[in-house]
Amino acid sequence: MSLLRLALNNIRGNAFRSSVVFLCVLGVASFLLGTTLVISGAQNSLNVGIQRLGADILVVPEGAQTEVQTALLMGKPTNVWMPASKIDEIAAVPGVQAVSPQIYLQSLYGAPCCSVSEMFLVVYDPATDFTVKPWLDKELGRPLARGEVIGGSYIFVPAGEKYITLYGYNTTLAGNLGATGTGIDQTLFMTQETARAMAQSSLTTAVTPLVIPPGEISEVMVKIMPGADRHRVALDILLKVLGVVPLESPNMFGQFRHQMTGLLWGFVTIMVVFWVLSAVLIGLVFSMAANERRREIAVLRALGATRFYVFRSILAEAVILALGGALLGVILSSFVIYLFRGYITSSLGMPFLFPGWASFLGLVATGTAFILLTVILAVLLPAFRVSRMEPAIAARE
């Protein structure tokens, strides 16, 4: 009888024992992958979101830091203003290479062109912009014309329509940015020319006209010179330009990152407790099974099976159960997390972007290897003890 067949027969022979080990492994695997996916999904979303912002430093009006970060992260409405004169003051700070203003227009609620209930309108300056332009150069190969807009992944042209109508003004969706899992996904970007045309049109075509306060902006995107110290530049902006606060892009969403770290440690603690308990339970189950099967093992030894063969047969049994449980566990948790990603985002209050295939498969492989190692370690001692037993003594006992 081959080793694999013997192991499979042993699994079938004691359904209860096998089910306990299988379920333990399944539970650990699903919890392990599930929590890792949620945390890495949030981290992935943050990184993609910060990358999409495309600026080294964001300068926002004093007191509006949290508001702007929440808007960018979770898509909460915001309405912040500062004088446009700040642009020149920021540009004059040593180490600043480029500055570009952006204006947050009034949020739209229940817009038919957006698959979420709130949509943001962000106006950029094509003459100075360096955040939207790289995407336009790559995807469109030209700047946005008057009346053209680009949207986040949640923005679409309503079915049966040719345009997205905003404040009674028809705009053409020139393209969509990739998903980030953050508030950027529900943002519509347009040039100042389009925004002004829309505001002008809204006086006669919209129920509530669009108002763009003259000489006001919402934030300034800052690109620093190559080799310049980002932190130093940010400090200089804080000291030299009054009424504004610089947000360094790697440090953005700090409050959220802090919250996420707390959550991560909570998950890790639960996971370690769960993991230790499962390893002990699996070891105990195999230990009991080994004791029960003394006679059977004695017969095997009497028939010529070596100690190593007995040892390997018990390990093979554990590996089969571990692989089966781990695979089913990772499939189940990935399926559930993928399906309920929107619910997780809204209930945990964190952005979420499902990791790419490569990192997802990496997570699955690491998780499965970790589970396999755990089960092998838990089974090693009982398998070793039973394999060392003398056949005559084992049969008599």
Binding site: S115, V116, S117, F340, Y343, T345, S346
Partner: protein
């Protein structure tokens, strides 16, 4: 075989009740969101109709579960499993294709739709496994 039959029947009954009941507590209307017309009339959104349709699917699945519990013949149980598979697929198709739900980040899209997809997948998986077990079993009666 009897234990497996009872397991299939009870599992289908529990899932049928969940499919029929849970969506009603997760529609946009239940969470106070509906369309108000110019005349002030409140019109339910399409997730509400998906939830209503799932009652019919749930009721049929409940009947299938009860029949699976009382049936003895292997052929009958096999046919009930096939009906279960079809109902599982319909459970998934109602919120995703046939009727649909509201837009992203609405309560029906974040919970009701994934819940129905998960339940539908579970029903299909259970019935497929049940069918395979029945077809490979040598016993004539369950």
């Amino acid at each position: 075989m009897k234990t497996k039959k009872i397991f299939l029947g009870v599992a289908l009954i529990i899932m049928a009740i969940a499919i029929a009941a849970v969506p009603h507590f997760n529609t946009c209307q239940y969470h106070g969101r509906d369309i108000t017309t110019a005349t002030g009339t409140h019109v339910p959104m399409k997730c509400n109709w998906s939830a209503q349709a799932e009652i019919a699917v749930g009721a049929t699945l409940l009947t299938v579960g009860i029949l699976a519990l009382v049936s003895r013949r292997k052929e009958t149980l096999s046919f009930l499993s096939i009906i279960g598979i079809v109902l599982g697929v319909v459970t998934i198709l109602i919120p995703t294709r046939i009727i649909g739900v509201c837009s992203s980040l609405m309560p029906c899209n974040t919970f009701m739709k994934p819940f129905l997809v998960a339940m539908g997948t579970l029903v299909v998986s259970l019935c497929v496994v049940g069918l395979v077990v029945l077809l490979t079993s040598k016993e004539k009666e369950a």
